[in-house]
């Protein structure tokens, strides 16, 4: 790549800004093609005339679309996603309250799937063309066909009913926990409350596994193929001829090169996690952003739906940009 690294980063950031702008445009257009008067749609069926006039004024709904868009953008820049008249709070506050729960769940799921997927993938590659490999690769095809709808129900039944463990929600409401970080696993520890931590830990495992298993299957297959491909390359043959130990070759030569494509894929699959997240949070009553979206759909709260869609999109775009830039630092070949 002839382009200088800073130029590349600059273009990548520019591209992300374009994507974020596109997302805003789409959400704006969708909010204006709502059936009937948008103010009534925003306020819900119990809207009073007074409120309708106020919303019309606040969002400039009687002005041209261009002016409406300018008002929309300027409010967004101030972090104002509007108010949920149905849930009775500002949308940004509702989202801010729910985000830590979703982040925590996705992070735990991500760690589980990376550890499980990559280690089993390496195992399958080392046992290439044996029974172990056959079983693992078949399992991987099975696992990424598992819809969150089935896996969630299965794990809910298994953990909740067969094992009788606490399932649903983040923590038993009987524990009163001071919130420092918003991440329940950290907060319970910071409170020094071990039994609360265990309760929270047991509750996060089933939803996290539901998200992690399909992703682990995909990572297994990818890392297996990637390792196999790298193992046939010249520099590995050279390392073997130098009589380096198998361990050194595997970890120093093969893995470093084989894991690169996996990192990008993992970034892309963040979106898949987000999708599964809504279903999983609904099944396990996990009070995160996905559950908020479900509640908003049930209540027909368009402001919350649109605000959440926008926030999730911005996070998604940012994650992908960060992954791309990180990739640059890890792979010396791209850095050039």
């Amino acid at each position: 790549m002839a382009k200088n690294i800073f130029q590349y980063i600059f273009y990548r950031i520019l591209q992300s800004i374009f994507s974020i702008f596109s997302a805003i445009v789409i959400v704006f257009i969708l909010s204006r093609v709502l059936p009937g008067n948008p103010a009534v749609a925003i306020l819900g069926p119990k809207a009073t005339q007074e409120n309708i006039e106020r919303v019309t004024r606040e969002w400039g709904l009687d002005k041209s679309y261009l002016e409406q868009f300018m008002i929309y953008i300027s409010r967004l820049l101030r972090g104002d996603l509007g108010d949920s008249y149905i849930m009775g709070y500002s949308v940004s506050r509702l989202i801010a309250e729910r985000l830590p729960a979703s982040f925590e769940l996705v992070i735990v799921a991500f760690i589980i799937s990376l550890v499980l997927g990559i280690s089993l993938g390496i195992l399958a590659a080392r046992k290439h063309e044996t029974k172990v490999d056959l079983i693992l690769t078949s399992l991987s095809v099975l696992s990424f066909s598992f819809p969150a709808l089935l896996l969630g129900v299965l794990l809910l039944l298994f953990f909740g009913i067969s094992l009788g463990l606490p399932v649903g929600g983040r923590i038993d409401p009987k524990y009163s926990i001071r919130i420092y970080t918003g991440f329940i696993l950290l907060d319970t520890l910071l409170n020094g409350n071990l039994s609360a931590f265990l309760d929270a830990f047991m509750r996060i495992i089933p939803p996290a596994l539901t998200l992690a298993i399909p992703l682990a299957g995909l990572l297994l297959k990818l890392s297996r193929n990637s390792v196999l491909e790298v193992m046939t390359q010249d520099f590995v043959r050279t390392a073997k001829m130098k009589k380096l130990s198998e361990k050194v070759i595997m970890y120093r030569h093969v893995l470093r090169n084989a894991l690169l494509p996996i990192i990008t894929i993992a970034g892309l699959y963040f979106a898949v996690l987000v999708t599964g997240d809504i279903v999983v949070e609904t099944i396990f009553a996990w009070p995160g952003l996905g559950r908020l979206i479900w509640e908003a759909v049930t209540l027909r709260d368009y402001m919350v739906i649109q605000g959440s869609v926008l926030v999730v999109s911005i996070i998604y775009i940012a994650v992908n940009a960060v992954v791309d830039i990180l990739y640059l630092y890890i792979d010396p070949r791209i850095r050039g």
Binding site: H128, V141, S145, E229, I278
Partner: protein, 287 residues
């Protein structure tokens, strides 16, 4: 063609996929033709466990749900509904995406720029999120849900087909066809399209399972099929509320959905490896 098909059947995964699908389709047809229960037939036999005897010729094979409806009958009606929705989505978005990709890749220049930026705008929002936003605006029913999924999946095909067009556009046979004075439409349909078809069909097969998952997930959160329509996502959503009393109304629709998605994935995966000789080698173990 026949030879290619025979060779394809050598890939075991494709056979497994086709076998599962055939079995599920046969069961569904059997249920629709011969089931003594209607999919929306409410009875007093509420939440009976699987294999309970009923007063008809069939037992309640998958048990009954909260309203005493036969879960087996509903699950297989739902198979026909969900697979049809999946096929409708893939056909519609595939065709639109194919046309956009062909035009964009072949004409290039300004048209390409506009069409591809449009596609970029659509994919700036994660697919399922956009589908939710669109379906919420259009209103909750299955047709709107299908439409929403179609819109968000068009770019997948458009970009794929465009990349194939770009890779063959400068080939000698295309240049020769141009030199011979063939019309653009003829060049695209007769000389370029055939190169895009195999990879397009593979992608469409894989997308079929995604489409089914999308439709079920939209219905699950209340933006797709509505009661009493037999649809997997909706059935699971309803059954979730009393899952501690009865597990079967939630589990069986999910299992059949899994088998369906799995079989499309197996076929698509086999197709892809079949078309890519390099991959065919590395996957030899799986068959």
């Amino acid at each position: 063609m026949a030879k290619a098909f025979r060779e394809l059947l050598m890939v075991k995964r494709v056979i497994y996929g086709i076998a599962i699908l055939t079995l599920l389709t046969a069961l569904s047809l059997y249920v629709i033709l011969f089931s003594p229960f209607e999919y929306d037939q409410i009875s007093y036999n509420v939440r009976l466990p699987p294999l309970t005897r009923s007063d008809t010729t069939w037992p309640y094979i998958f048990g009954t749900d909260n309203l005493g409806r036969d879960v087996f009958t509903r699950t297989f009606y739902a198979f026909i509904l969900d697979v049809s929705c999946g096929l409708a989505i893939v056909t519609l978005s595939g065709l639109v995406g194919l046309v956009i990709g062909l035009i964009s890749g072949y004409l290039g220049g300004f048209v390409d720029l506009i069409l591809m930026r449009l596609m970029d705008i659509v994919i700036s929002i994660p697919g399922f999120m956009l589908a939710i936003a669109i379906a919420a605006v259009l209103g909750s029913n299955i047709v709107n849900a299908i439409l929403a999924v179609v819109i968000v999946t068009i770019p997948i095909y458009a970009r794929l087909v465009r990349s194939v067009v770009l890779s063959v556009k400068e080939s000698l046979f295309v240049l020769a066809a141009k030199e011979a004075g063939l019309s653009d439409v003829r060049i695209v349909t007769r000389h370029i399209l055939p190169h895009a078809i195999p990879i397009f069909i593979t992608q469409a097969t894989m997308e079929l399972s995604n489409a089914i998952i999308y439709i079920a997930a939209l219905s699950f959160i209340g933006l797709g099929a509505q009661e009493p329509t037999p649809e997997w996502g909706l059935m699971i959503s309803m059954a979730r509320r009393y899952i501690r009393e009865a597990w079967w109304p939630a589990l069986f629709p999910g299992l059949v959905m899994f088998l369906t998605v799995l079989s499309f994935n197996l076929i698509g995966d086999g197709l892809r490896d079949y078309l890519d000789p390099k991959k065919r080698l590395s996957f030899r173990v799986l068959g």
